[in-house]
Symmetry: C2
């Protein structure tokens, strides 16, 4: 099981645009169209399934909020950082 | 602009599985796989765009919570009921 990262490690490793929110890391992606956001969520869902690490994604009006945490570790781990970095490549 | 429905109208017209939550109607759909939920959200997003009426959809682990409201009417209207009925045809 992955170890949780320290506050300093999270701050150092968090990709640009992401914030820490307690036991989670979060980013809201904005899109020019509603379907742009839907398509992003579908693509991110594929990457999540490949990594078998599943974010919570809320699709709104031209935006998608993504939240990542590692439930079985009880906090933020390398798995969250790695998946966040992969999501960055989609936009 | 669509008129908001009365409490009785909402209760009478809400599709099975949907609940009213204040100014919104909500249903959580469950799926056998994570990607089943992702695919549902993508399909529902297409129907939403076609209707130009956009729900909030939260994709979690093998479930998707869908919330509908008509922002410019300030409550639940026929547009919400109609889109909820179309989502029911996806599952």
């Amino acid at each position: 099981m992955a170890d949780t990262l320290s506050d300093d490690e999270i701050a150092a490793q968090l990709p640009d645009g992401w914030d820490r929110d307690g036991d989670e890391i979060v980013r809201t992606y904005e899109f020019e169209t509603y379907l742009g956001g839907v398509g992003f969520a579908a693509g991110a869902g594929g990457l999540a399934q490949e990594a078998f690490h599943h974010p919570e994604m809320t699709i709104g009006w031209r935006e998608v909020e993504v939240r990542l945490t590692t439930h079985d570790a009880g906090g933020v781990t390398e798995k969250d950082i790695e998946l966040a970095e992969r999501f960055e490549e989609l936009v």
